[in-house]
């Protein structure tokens, strides 16, 4: 089997004032998920299959003191069955209260056949940061940086049989804890990880999902990237795992990689 893998994470630079910026990565769900490359994989064997994992996030100020983010994400391609595919769209706003970042979001989630469609309104909080604990800022010695988010969401399954929406019902509550971690032992080498644990209502068991990538930048944002995902992600919360290796290109809104803006 010959496999050709193209990995790309890009973002339009946002150096101009009062302009929105766009970032592209694995998913819009967190900053570290956006720093993981979007992936397009093409496998040529007995048949040609594709695997696409991508998210895009546009964000910026809407008026003084208020900002907004709008995102799209997908896990799709012919490698995945309809039930394994995921689509999502999200709008999210932030406020700063004291030493806490507060986010309010509305998200639409669907599987590949649109047999399961869910809408979720969620609120989440994260502390601004703490230098001693590498929380939000990279520690000088360990080169580690992390950030936790605690969230609660209420939602509804728009359509589909109740069995398809399980482990959640037609109306549901989610409580979740999400961690973002990055480790950059060298200037051109970076590990980004996002892991989420959900407690789902109706007495069902919890679910977890973890996505990670290790990228080695070789020239002006082009990188060799290894990427993995394991766990159960919404809307179906079915177990899935994948590993891929490829060539990537990174251009970010914050000026990292080649994307100096």
């Amino acid at each position: 089997m010959v496999a050709l893998l193209l990995v790309a994470a890009s973002g339009a630079g946002a150096q101009s004032s009062r302009r929105w910026g766009v970032e592209v990565g694995h998913s819009y769900s967190s900053a570290k998920a956006l720093h993981q490359p979007a992936t397009f994989a093409l496998s040529v064997g007995s048949s040609v299959t594709t695997d696409i994992q991508a998210g895009v996030l546009a964000g910026g100020p809407i008026w003084p003191g208020a900002s907004l983010e709008i995102g799209l994400r997908t896990l799709t391609g012919s490698t995945r069955t309809k039930a394994e595919r995921e689509y999502g769209a999200m709008v999210r706003g932030y406020t700063l209260i004291g030493e806490w970042v507060n986010a309010l979001s509305g998200e639409y989630e669907a599987d590949g056949g649109f047999d399961v469609q869910k809408g979720v309104i969620a609120a989440e909080v994260s502390p601004l940061g703490e230098m001693r604990w590498c929380l939000g800022v990279r520690c000088a010695r360990s080169r580690l940086q992390w950030r936790p988010w605690l969230g609660v969401g209420v939602g509804n399954s728009f359509r589909g049989e109740r069995a398809l929406a399980e482990p959640e019902g037609h109306a549901f509550l989610r409580v979740y804890l999400r961690g973002e971690v990055s480790w950059a032992p060298r200037e051109n080498l970076e590990l980004n990880l996002e892991s989420t644990g959900w407690y789902l209502s109706r007495g069902s068991a919890g679910r977890t999902n973890t996505a990670a990538s290790l990228s080695f930048e070789v020239w002006k944002g082009f990188s060799l990237t290894a990427k993995g995902q394991v766990g159960c992600a919404p809307p179906r919360f079915g177990y899935d795992r994948s590993v891929s290796v490829g060539v990537g290109w990174v251009r970010r809104r914050d000026g990292q990689g080649a994307g100096r803006g």
Partner: protein, 98 residues
């Protein structure tokens, strides 16, 4: 050329830059104000994440007496120089301050 902060104190741009660099260094593990340049990027070079940038608002309000807007810091301030320019732009011309 001097400008006036919200407490009526006069500032030269070089002093604003020095004060901002001290604040940025105090929030960055292992950083020294003298090693920071205006082109130093808060996220890419200093390892700050998007939200950590908001940590500058409180010390700048305390030391430079200027209130910064959250979304400007989040989406438009990328370098130490951007932050210096933003704080400087918030200060008033001496004539306007009277």
């Amino acid at each position: 050329m001097t400008r006036v902060d919200d407490a009526g104190k006069n500032w030269e741009e070089a002093r604003v830059e020095a004060a901002v660099k001290r604040i940025v260094a105090s929030l960055t593990p292992g950083a020294k104000p003298g090693a920071l340049k205006r082109a130093t990027r808060l996220e890419a070079d200093l390892g700050w994440d998007k939200w950590y940038k908001l940590k500058v608002i409180k010390p700048i309000r305390k030391r430079l007496h200027e209130a910064l807007e959250d979304n400007v810091v989040l989406y438009e301030v990328k370098t130490v120089g951007d932050l210096v320019k933003y704080v400087w732009s918030r200060m008033d011309e001496p004539a306007a301050a009277r």
